[in-house]
Amino acid sequence: MNLAPFRDPAIAARLIEETHRVQSRPWVIMETCGGQTHAILRLGLDQLLPRGLELVHGPGCPVCVTPAPLIDHAIALAARPEVILATFGDMMRVPGTASTLFAARAAGGDVRMVYSALDALELAHTNPDREVVFFAIGFETTAPGSAQAVMRARSQGVANFSLLSAHVLVPAAIRYLLEDPGNRVQGYLAAGHACAVLGGQPYEELAARFHVPIVITGFEAIDLLRGILRVVQMLEAGEARVENAYERVVHHEGNLQAQDAIWNVFMSRGREWRGIGLIPASGLTLKPEYSAWNAQLKFGPPAETSTEPGICISGLVLQGLKKPPECPAFGRECTPGHPLGAPMVSAEGACAAYFSYQRMPEGRDDKSPGSEGAA
């Protein structure tokens, strides 16, 4: 796909101007997806919006919210000689209670980076004498792939493959944040990729019940600006609907085939979100008829609870209550090289985004490079 039209500076300038024109008072908007957070900071988009428009960053980074005990469980499984533990690259550096999967691999564990659940199933085919455990990370975006792998494992009779499911659902998390008495978010940019699977429908009830505008939004400059403008327009008009500003990817009903795959294999249940707590009906676990492919049942339950380092405020960051630079450890004790919390590790974490793109000294003028002679 040609993405140039979605990065067009002239269109962007018009959308920014329109947002300035429409906005009459301060608003707080949350972008729910870590990919959106990174795009906003990478583009410097937050610097171009009206001053009173505050963007806060939501919990939409799946590896950031994966609870440490589940990572510990994956590390423990990786240490078993018969196990090949397969997972996405993003997960490798995220610390559990005491270690990471990279460290587990360095210590002799067989940990493999894969790009899809079906790659992990392929590993099970090519290593019939080993147990392949796929540590399944991600929102509803990656859950259909995991479901497909499990269905295929069953139909092909692959017994040496199992799933350690860390899948979570975005709408459940947004509901949880909206129900919080401390919530200050007035409008939401829903995560485009996740909505491509579940569609806009799960958000209808949230928009109506909590009277918040929710706009399904993509990840390019123009996508983000259109989403933001629609939220501001609805806030200014006192409207609270679900709208789709990512029409080229998302249909209102979502991807029915992908939904079928999810609900054929998984059921929802309460799940601990790292730094946030237990969120009802937010996790996906394998249905009883797929127990033979459930790593938790095959190898026994994970170890017990863990704590984050006391200084880290990642839970507040993931709920949009604090920004990364407000953390006393940000950029000092906590850097991507030495992360204290998951949002500093992950490619989608808000702390990593601030560290990468926004440690800019104050007072940057907007002269373009090349417009000034020798300093």
Partner: protein
């Protein structure tokens, strides 16, 4: 030897190794210094100060669109020598081969090395071969080291970068890294893109001829891409670098692949591009000199050097906001060079 595979004996110092050296390396690389087959090469007086560089290549896969590990290894060290302002003359080649590598693959790779060296008028004058047991290496690793002679004074170096300098990039970003990534079977996508692997000796020669001492520094944005290069420049010269995102040449297919994979073209490796820091009054001549060569046709001024904050690399985004361009945090990508 087409149906054969490399065995441990090919690295043992005995008859098998002798055959490999004679039938393959000496035949393909043939030149007076190598043909003597002494322990080292005796080289003629080069007539100037020397540049010396080394680089090791572990790319996976060995063959990718637009090249293979062989021409990559030769061009890589040639380019390192060029970036020092030297004309590359001689290379060494060290091979670490995993038992079981198809001899036909090795033939193709060595042939590509010979062709790349000939194209840049460089001789491979000495070498070494080791074979390790299956599982102890990944098919083939190559080290090349090289010597070049410096003709211009003062030679370019990052310590000569000054506030006011313009940064010029010789062409599109990210072609090599994305071409290699696209070849990895499990990524499941293919792009029409080719690696940009190429020797840059003609490009640097034209640049130095046009601007002489006005070329303050040159470097090729290989591993870590343009982002790593700018950070290295900013740190070693104690200056701030400001880039203009709208000026960065990126092919649409590279932009699309980066979008799909969640990558930033600023961090993707290139194997046939250079960045020069050039005095402001020489920038136009430098740009013309680069554009006069096929490898520099898409050259562009991409930023400038300021006194600013030492070590900072900032970029004005396509929308007009500012972001920091940091060093890459960690390596999660497959090996691409």
């Amino acid at each position: 030897m087409n149906n054969e595979r490399i065995q441990l004996g090919h690295g043992s110092g005995g008859r098998m190794m002798n055959e490999l050296i004679h039938d393959l390396f000496r035949r393909r690389f043939s030149n007076p210094q190598l043909n003597a087959l002494d322990d080292g090469a005796i080289l003629p007086e080069p007539g100037g100060r020397l540049a010396f560089a080394t680089d090791s290549f572990v790319v996976d896969p060995l063959f990718f669109p637009g090249g293979n590990i062989g021409d990559l290894a030769v061009n890589g060290t040639i380019n390192d020598l060029c970036m020092c302002g030297s004309r590359p003359l001689w290379l060494s080649a060290g091979f670490i081969i995993e038992e079981g590598l198809a001899c036909s693959d090795l033939e193709i790779i060595v042939g590509a090395m010979a062709a790349a060296a000939a194209a840049a008028q460089v001789r491979i004058v000495t070498g070494d071969t080791k074979v390790v047991e299956r599982g102890k290496a990944d098919r083939l690793f190559i080290n090349t080291s090289g010597i070049g002679v410096i003709s211009h004074n003062p030679a370019p170096g990052s310590c000569r970068i000054e506030p006011g300098d313009r940064l010029i990039l010789s062409g599109t970003l990210g072609d090599h890294g994305i071409a290699v990534l696209s070849q990895r079977s499990h990524l499941g996508f293919s792009t029409p893109l080719q690696s940009d692997t190429a020797p840059l000796h003609e490009l640097t020669a034209r640049l130095l001829e046009a601007c002489g001492g006005g070329v303050h520094a040159m470097r090729d944005p290989t591993r870590g891409g343009l982002a790593a290069l700018c950070n290295e420049f900013a740190r070693s010269a104690g200056v701030e670098i400001r880039l203009d995102e709208t000026a960065l040449p990126v092919r649409p297919e590279v932009a699309a692949a980066c979008e799909l994979l969640g990558l930033d073209p600023l961090y993707i490796a290139n194997e046939g591009k250079l960045v020069a820091a050039v005095a402001a009054d020489a920038a136009e001549r430098a740009l013309e000199a680069l554009k006069s060569h096929p490898l520099g046709r898409e050259a562009a001024v991409i930023g400038e050097v300021r006194k600013g904050e030492a070590g900072l690399v900032a970029m004005r985004t396509i929308l007009g906001g500012w972001r920091v361009v940091d060093l890459p945090a960690g390596e999660l990508l497959p090996r691409i060079c």
